[in-house]
């Protein structure tokens, strides 16, 4: 990685000027005789810092001067030299000379060489010579530089002051919403007056213009205020990378850390809380991910492991990825462990897809490291990482792992937590908000498109079953009688690859809003991630999509438990292949309610592997899937001895006759179109095929 010297230089200039200012102050006090030991110590440290940081950037000319000044100050500090007016003047010259050099660095990037006379004079002082009868500015010296007063380009502001400013800005934005509401009220009054007052009409128009102009200005102001609090990711990335190299060494693993995208800026609020999850993921990468040198060598990989820490912009979000080139997550090991820990029954564990198994690592107390080390493996961590990313940072986290090639955790985060796009809806007589990143679709569907599957409602969206629940019911609010308008409004939320359609009463508004945090002691409430203020000055809860999915799952779990299994079907094993998580889940529920044992597979290839490694009495498959489609899977299964005669049912949204024909051609026994899917149809078909 190339060292970005330019960025460091800017930082050096800022820091050096700061220290030189202190040096100057200190020398004035020294000359005035009011400098005590601590004061001399302080200016010594300043000179020392300038020396050190200039050396790091190879600005040797500055280093040289600083070094000499430091030596003299050191002698003053230990008492081997006594301050005298001449000495102070000499030191002052040294400081001025460094200041001039720093200015040159700021302008051109390179300082002029150190003033040889000055250095010689300083050395002479140290050598015990009298304070040199300094040859002040010999005749051949360059003309005195043009004296200009520097004004600082940066101002240091205390963070708390900035936070106050931003909070106040948020209040202004919130209260502006109220103004907009007044405008709506005024239009209402105007209408009520029936246009009888032309003055009122023009007043209303003027006010509208003013409000909108104000809004534009205010949003700009708010944006600018937020930018002030933005910091580059390098603040987190740099120390993390350094720490990881150290950690690798302490574990006897040769590790390099590659970082990209450090310039991307995030709100300080996020930066502060991002460090812990990143460090944790990196540690895991070094500890569990990267194999030992021998293992790596055997696998034909370079002996040193590589950790990648990268960031990129993605719309209004930033994606931070932490990846290693290690052995990948041990999926089967995690599956076993989940069973051993009693989190899952062996059947459940077998039925879960790889992605679902990987999700288990985010459960509290789940650690896959077989040995507990200082570094990781104590089972605290991944759940904390997830909570931090999802709850505190309003983001999402995804895992991608390939055996032998490594694991990558991708965190998708908003740039700022202060303002987010929020959708306001009405349900059960209350207003609720959703942050935009979780909203996948807004649908107004005819009632007959909501079908009943396994005692619960679902809707088909893009070839996928999505469960439908009433938001009011989910939140335990009284559900108002359904409006007679022959349709249902659905807000479809998505967390990773899982979707949930929420029935709502009305869509109210959608705009950028300032999210206010809940008081500390309420943060553990899972359903609410924060609050926004509406035009009426009302507080509205912003709902946490992942918690809604959990709540829906719990509700569903109770519902399915209530259905007594048929009994007669016990022991019949069915393989369900579908790339949509929701569809798989629904089909599984339908079949389990009937007493079937269900195994899930997420695509054709996965299905084929599972079919080969186990035995199934029937296979249900989707058509369009990554890696291998359902037609190919069916044909492949028919070539296997074991699956030549077992029932294969294709479930798809393809309604064309030629698709049906193709399904029969490759050997499927039945072809069910998702559109007219109902559980009776599926179960009846399956039962009749099984005889």
């Amino acid at each position: 990685m190339a060292l970005d010297v330019k960025r460091f230089v800017a930082r050096f200039v800022e820091e050096a000027r700061d220290h030189l200012r202190r040096l100057e102050d200190g020398l004035i006090r020294l000359a005035g005789g009011s400098a005590d030991g601590e004061a001399i110590n302080a200016i010594f440290r300043s000179a020392h810092t300038v020396k050190g940081s200039s050396r790091m950037l190879k600005l040797t000319a500055i280093t040289e001067t600083a070094h000499k000044v430091e030596d003299v100050l050191g002698a003053l500090r230990d008492g081997s030299l006594k301050p005298s007016p001449d000495l102070c003047r000499l030191l002052q010259r040294g400081v001025d000379s460094m200041a001039a050099q720093v200015d040159q660095v700021a302008e051109t990037g390179t300082p002029s060489p150190a003033d040889a006379d000055l250095c010689a004079a300083l050395s002479q002082v140290l050598a015990g010579g009298e304070t040199a009868p300094t040859p002040p500015a010999p005749a051949e010296a360059p003309p005195p530089p043009e004296v200009k007063l520097k004004s600082a380009e940066t101002v240091r502001v205390q963070l708390s002051k900035l936070d106050e400013l931003i909070k106040l800005m948020g209040e202004v934005v919130s209260s502006h919403a109220r103004l907009r509401q007044r405008l709506v009220d005024l239009r209402g009054i105007d209408r009520a007056a029936g246009g009888a007052a032309p003055l009122l009409q023009s007043f209303s128009r003027d006010l509208r213009d003013d409000v909108f102009t104000q809004e534009v200005l205010m949003e700009e102001l708010h944006k600018k205020a937020l930018i002030m609090r933005m910091l580059p990711l390098s603040i987190v990335f740099e120390p993390a990378a350094r720490m990881i190299r150290d950690l690798g060494r302490s574990l006897g693993k040769d590790v390099q850390c590659v970082t990209t995208g450090m310039d991307i800026e995030l709100d300080r609020q996020l930066i502060d809380r991002l460090s812990d999850p990143i460090v944790h993921l990196l540690r895991n990468g070094v500890d569990h991910g990267i194999e030992t040198a021998e293992t790596r060598h055997a696998a034909g990989k370079p002996a040193h492991g590589t950790l990648k820490l990268s960031a990129r912009q993605d719309g209004g979000f930033v994606v931070v990825e932490v990846g290693d080139d290690g052995g990948g997550l041990p999926v089967e090991f995690i599956r076993d462990k989940a069973v051993k820990k009693g989190l899952l029954t062996p059947e459940q564990a077998q039925a879960m897809t790889e992605t679902e198994i990987i999700d288990l690592i985010f459960l509290p107390g789940f650690s896959t490291s077989s040995i507990i080390t200082d570094v990781s493996g104590r089972g605290v961590g991944m759940d904390v990482v997830k909570r931090c990313v999802v709850d505190d940072l309003q983001g999402s986290i995804a895992v991608e792992t390939r055996p032998g090639q490594g694991t990558t955790f991708a965190m998708r985060l908003p740039l700022s937590l202060a303002v987010m796009r929020v959708l306001l809806v009405e349900a059960g007589g209350q207003t609720f908000g959703f942050t935009a990143q979780y909203v996948a679709h807004l649908l107004d569907v005819a009632d007959d498109r909501i079908i009943t599957v396994a005692e619960r409602k679902a809707v088909i969206i893009q070839n996928e079953f999505v469960p439908v629940v009433s938001l009011a019911e989910l939140l335990g609010l009284p559900t108002p009688p359904a409006a007679k308008r022959g349709g249902t409004l659905l807000v479809v939320v998505r967390v990773r690859n899982e979707k949930l359609a929420l029935k709502v009463g009305q869509l109210l508004d959608e705009r950028d809003m300032v999210i206010k945090p809940l008081p500390e002691h309420l943060r553990q409430l899972p359903l609410v991630s924060g609050m926004v203020m509406t035009g009426r000055n009302d507080l509205v809860s912003v709902l946490q999509a992942s918690a809604l999915l959990d709540a829906a799952r719990r509700q569903r779990g109770e519902a399915t438990a209530a259905i007594a299994p048929d009994g007669g079907r016990a022991g019949i094993r069915v393989l369900v292949v579908d790339d949509s998580l929701n569809t798989r889940e629904i089909e599984k529920d339908v079949l389990e309610a009937q007493g079937f044992i269900v195994t899930l597979a997420e695509d054709g290839q996965d299905g084929l592997d599972k079919a080969r490694s186990g035995h199934f009495d029937a296979v249900l498959t989707d058509v369009e899937m990554p890696n291998m489609d359902g037609f190919t899977l069916t044909a492949a299964l028919r070539r296997e001895d074991r699956y030549r005669d077992i029932p294969i049912i294709i479930i798809t949204s393809r309604e064309k006759a030629e698709d049906k024909r193709r399904g029969i051609q490759v050997g499927a026994d039945a072809y069910i179109v998702k559109g007219d899917f109902d559980q009776g149809n599926l179960v009846d078909t399956l039962k009749s095929l099984l005889g």
Partner: protein
């Protein structure tokens, strides 16, 4: 004072009073004892109080907003000049019987303690007063078992016995899930 107050009238003038005071030799006893400020409020028929230093504000007419998924001990949240604060149903925490909806004189006390801040719903705020420390008596033995740890003492006020509650402890128990 007035001219007609003379020693003859039987009423002592200020000068005389002072003279008498000075004359009555003896050590001056400081009768001031430490006092505490109490915020006295009513829940149903019971009178309670919090220490004044724990109550930052008394809010009235403050709309409370619904918070999905919150426990019954929480009524919802309020907006206090831009900050969101919770509102605790003290009635539920103290396991007092519920009596109808919020009365018209209902107030929210904004309390602070145990590292948290929250509104506390009460039926009526009766008074804010200073009482000498000694006026607070230890809680009687007849007090309810579950209330005992929350009670600092009792103090008589306007023919009522006012139970002084420990807000610090209430908030602490609330946070740790004890209530």
């Amino acid at each position: 004072m007035t001219d007609d107050i003379t020693p003859d009238s039987g009423i002592l003038g200020l000068d005389q009073v002072l003279a008498v005071k000075r004359g009555a030799a003896g050590p001056v006893v400081d009768v001031d004892e430490p006092s505490v400020k109490l915020v006295v409020f009513v829940l149903g028929t019971d009178w309670f109080a919090f220490h004044g230093e724990r109550i930052k504000e008394v809010l009235s007419d403050c709309p409370v907003y619904f918070l999905p998924g919150c426990p019954t001990s929480l009524e919802g949240v309020i907006n206090v000049r831009g900050d969101i604060e919770s509102v605790i149903r003290l009635r539920v925490l103290l396991r007092l019987a519920e009596d109808g909806g919020a009365a018209s004189g209902s107030r929210i006390l904004l309390g602070q303690g145990a590292g948290m801040r929250s509104g506390i719903r009460v039926d009526r705020v009766e008074d804010v007063m200073d009482v000498p420390q000694s006026a607070i008596q230890p809680p009687p033995h007849t007090i309810n078992e579950h209330l005992r740890p929350l009670v600092l003492g009792i103090v008589p006020f306007q023919k009522h016995m006012v139970t002084v509650l420990d807000l610090e402890r209430i908030f602490l128990d609330y946070r740790t899930g004890g209530l």
